[in-house]
């Protein structure tokens, strides 16, 4: 151990938090060898990311590792729907059954409205800009799914999105969503797709993060 080069050690692809990491404490003063558990170094870690090189009808994160305590998708993009905005849907484990329940609040300038859905075949994740939105403008979506590996309760998610439908005051839309997927299965796959689209535009970015630590 002591005479091994760091570069010669075996790389670990994932950690569960109980592993020890080596630290050199106070390197500029009185250096001391110390250890720290990996769970201490908690925070959001990138699991996977894709930037679309061409249009795509959906983006699917598969084989999601079960080593995190929460998932978060951050996506920025547009769809080719012939409108200024398009709803973005989320599915878990490729389930297109009537198992999604959610409520969304939409803020468009001073207008506020809400709508809910029950036993839907997909969940709402927010809005992207679409074809008639100003050029070079993309929508932003953040979806957070805690306890995605749990098998006791149904899975829940919260999402927030922003899309700029025009350059007018009344064209800035903010959406807040809470939802439930009526399944106790651990999530291993997460899909995002345009409600109408049918496609995400090239350049749209999708990043899946995992939260380290309990």
């Amino acid at each position: 151990m002591a005479d091994s080069k760091l570069a010669n050690l075996t790389t670990v692809a994932a950690v569960d938090g109980d592993e020890y990491l080596y630290l050199l404490d106070d390197p500029a003063g009185t250096p001391l060898d110390r250890k720290v558990t990996a769970k201490v170094l908690s925070g959001w870690a990138v699991i996977a990311e894709t930037v679309l090189a061409a249009t795509a009808t959906s983006v699917s994160f598969t084989s999601i590792p079960a080593t995190f305590s929460a998932l978060q998708v951050v996506a920025q993009g547009r769809t080719d729907r012939v409108l200024a905005r398009d709803a973005i849907l989320v599915r878990f484990n490729n389930d297109s059954g009537a198992n999604y329940y959610d409520e969304q609040s939409l803020f468009l300038d001073t207008a506020v409205s809400g709508s809910g859905s029950a036993a839907a075949t997909s969940g709402n994740a927010g809005r992207f800009c679409a074809a008639s939105a100003p050029a070079s403008v993309a929508g932003l979506i953040v979806v957070t799914v805690p306890a995605y590996t749990g098998t006791t309760f149904h899975k829940t998610w919260v999402a927030q999105s922003f899309d700029s439908q025009s350059n007018a005051t009344g064209g800035q839309e903010n959406v807040a969503i809470g939802g439930r997927w009526a399944s106790t299965a651990a999530i291993t796959r997460l899909d995002l797709l345009p409600s109408v689209g049918p496609n995400f535009l090239a350049g749209s970015t999708f990043t899946l993060y995992g939260l380290r630590g309990a």
């Binding site: 894709t50 598969t62 084989s63 709508s115 797709l193 409600s195 049918p198």
Partner: protein, 101 residues
């Protein structure tokens, strides 16, 4: 319709492929539902804006009425106007924005 992009988080690979016929059927159903939901939402936004515009105009109507020294002749019209205003407020309060009557 373009391909589906598949990001394998364990293998760290990104691939794409055309949708299967079954997936295409699901996507077509998604689009139909999405169009219907968008139509309902558009109607609600339009109705809300119409009701707000009417409420704004009603402020002046109410001011004019209360400024009258002897409004006997205008009372019937004002009661009708107030009833319409109340209906609009009730629609907004209850979220019944499928219509504006």
């Amino acid at each position: 319709m373009a391909d589906i992009v598949i990001v394998d988080c364990s293998a760290k690979t990104t691939t794409s492929r055309p949708l299967t016929p079954q997936e295409q059927t699901v996507r077509a159903a998604d689009a139909t539902i999405g169009e219907q939901a968008a139509q309902v939402e558009a109607t609600r936004f339009t109705s809300r804006q119409i009701l707000i515009d009417r409420a704004t105009a009603a402020l002046q109507t109410n001011r004019d009425f209360t400024a009258l020294a002897n409004p006997t002749a205008q009372a019937l019209a004002q009661v009708q106007a107030l009833t319409r205003q109340n209906t609009a407020l009730i629609r907004i309060l209850l979220g019944l924005l499928d219509a504006t009557d």
